[in-house]
């Protein structure tokens, strides 16, 4: 069992967490977004081998956050709140 760190609850079992997608994938806005752009947002992924930055959810507390980790060795470099700046206001 690997231990992940929720920025709100601290270290917890990996099975309490759920992968939520690559960080920085923002939803296109507006009425005339072309189909190619929707496809990029909905489906296309970098899926990097090595350093990754991802959105995760800690299912027990319901918070979404960013986890930086290595997709080969699974070592976690950091986890921090999503949009931390807004949150602290």
């Amino acid at each position: 069992m690997q231990i992940f760190t929720c920025p709100f609850c601290g270290p917890r079992d990996e099975s309490e967490f759920h992968f939520g997608g690559e960080a920085g994938n923002t939803r296109p806005d507006g009425a005339d977004v072309p189909a190619e752009r929707w496809a990029r947002y909905l489906y296309m992924r970098a899926n990097p081998k090595g350093a990754t930055s991802e959105v995760w959810v800690h299912m027990t507390c319901g918070e979404f956050f960013i986890m930086e980790r290595d997709s080969v060795g699974h070592k976690v470099a950091a986890s921090h709140p999503l949009g931390g700046a807004e949150k602290s206001e």
Binding site: E14, H18, Y43, A46, N47, P48, K49, S71
Partner: protein, 417 residues
């Protein structure tokens, strides 16, 4: 030298002290240019080379494999072969593969040990039985030999299943495919390699593609750990590493890479002669010809390129197995491993030209592409030889993610493999 495998050549070599056997495939040095290059020496890449040579007469072909052939998912899979899919597009694809598998041993002159022992996908509630009836109808209309089994039918084909009144996932019946079964994974890779090599294809191992040669907006060759090689048509069949090469070619794919684990028990005498899948536990199992229980389950929950697998998923698979077959609690686990699989949102493969002209894709098979190897090879060979889609590959083009015409088999027919 003895080339053809037969009872007669076995007898002859027996008398000659086994001295006349040729290596199954040649190991030539790479050349500077080919008519076609295939990246990835798994089942799909090797089958592509074979059909390019056999069907299209294109023999100036190289298969480049970074490790050893069959060392990726092809040599790590649980070898279930079936074609009971829901959508007509999928039935055309997997049905072609299934028919080719049935003649493959003869075609390749290599025993791939296809064992059509049948497969039962269980239903655990009355509601699941209703959905199964609909699924079976759809499959029968598409010409697939699917049958709806009652609980008594299931008892007949899998008597050691847990039918007790306390079972967490009671059996109400299931979906049976009699032509489904297993094949020997290494034999499929080696058989295609041997047959392709015999037709003139260069199989080059320990040769990793690290970049593409791109000129005038077209893919013109590859940079490898064994030098540069040029070709006007390049196919890639690298499964879980598709995104890594796509990044070198300058595009993204709708793929996430995950570890998929499997494990085997110690070998025991014959006790289970079909493949059994329980959607309730997410576990499926068959008994290998050696006697081991070959056990598979769901994907790991963490995107990964670490070819090991994490413990929580393995624990879930083993507890599911013991719920299905309490008697297996006496077995020792012998080995556990994982492969990195290429998971696509609609659980269907991607076959077609990539956004970089001259580079063609065969990927996205995820947890279930072993059964598709003869078809994946046929279709990528057709693309490389003609530059155009075959009717069967057309619906699986990358463009479906823009048009929205997804072929959602996870929703249509449930779990993959």
């Amino acid at each position: 030298m003895t080339r053809r495998y037969s009872a007669f050549s076995l007898f002859k070599e027996g008398l000659a002290g086994q001295t006349g056997w040729e290596p199954a495939w040649r190991s030539p040095s790479p050349r500077k240019s080919y008519d076609a290059i295939i990246i990835g020496g798994g089942g799909h890449g090797l089958a592509t080379a074979y059909y390019l040579a056999k069907t299209h007469g294109v023999t100036n072909v190289a298969v480049l494999e970074k490790g050893w052939i069959g060392g990726g998912n092809t040599g790590r899979n649980t070898t279930v072969v079936r074609s009971n899919y829901y959508y007509p597009e999928s039935v055309a694809l997997y049905g072609l593969a299934h028919r080719l598998y049935e003649g493959l041993g003869q075609d390749l002159n290599y025993n791939v040990m296809l064992s059509q022992r049948g497969m039962i996908s269980l239903c655990h509630s009355a509601i699941e039985m209703e959905i199964a009836a609909r699924t079976v109808n759809a499959m029968q209309i598409s010409g697939i030999d699917a049958e709806l089994y009652s609980v008594d039918d299931v008892r007949r084909v899998a008597p050691i299943y847990n039918f007790s009144a306390q079972a967490r996932y009671p059996v109400f019946g299931g979906v049976w495919q009699g032509r489904a079964g297993t094949a020997r994974h290494d034999a499929v890779a080696w058989g295609y390699a041997r047959a392709a090599s015999g037709l003139g294809v260069d199989i080059i191992q320990n040769c990793e593609v690290t970049d593409f040669i791109i000129a005038d907006g077209r893919c013109r060759g590859v940079v490898t750990t064994r030098g540069e090689m040029r070709a006007e048509r390049i196919g890639m069949a690298v499964a879980g590493h598709s995104s890594v090469l796509a990044a070198k070619a300058g595009f993204h794919l709708p793929i996430n890479s995950y570890a998929l684990q499997a494990c085997v028990s110690e070998p025991v005498k014959p006790i289970l002669d079909t493949v059994v899948l329980s959607p309730g536990t997410g576990v499926y199992v068959s008994q290998s010809d050696k006697g081991e229980m070959v056990i598979g389950g769901a994907l790991d929950r963490i995107p990964s390129y670490g070819q090991r697998g994490n413990l929580p998923t393995l624990e879930g698979v083993i507890s599911g197995l013991l719920e299905m077959f309490p008697a297996f609690g006496q077995l020792k686990l012998m080995r556990q491993w994982a492969g990195i699989v290429d998971v696509v949102p609609d659980s269907s493969p991607i076959i077609g030209e990539s956004p970089l002209p001259g580079l063609f894709l065969n990927c996205g098979w995820g947890t279930g592409g072993f059964k598709a190897i003869p078809a994946g090879g046929t279709l990528l060979a057709h693309l490389l030889a003609t530059g155009k889609h075959n009717d069967i590959s057309r619906p699986f083009d990358l463009d479906r993610f823009v048009t929205g015409r997804l072929i959602d088999e996870a929703a249509g027919s449930g779990i993959a493999h």
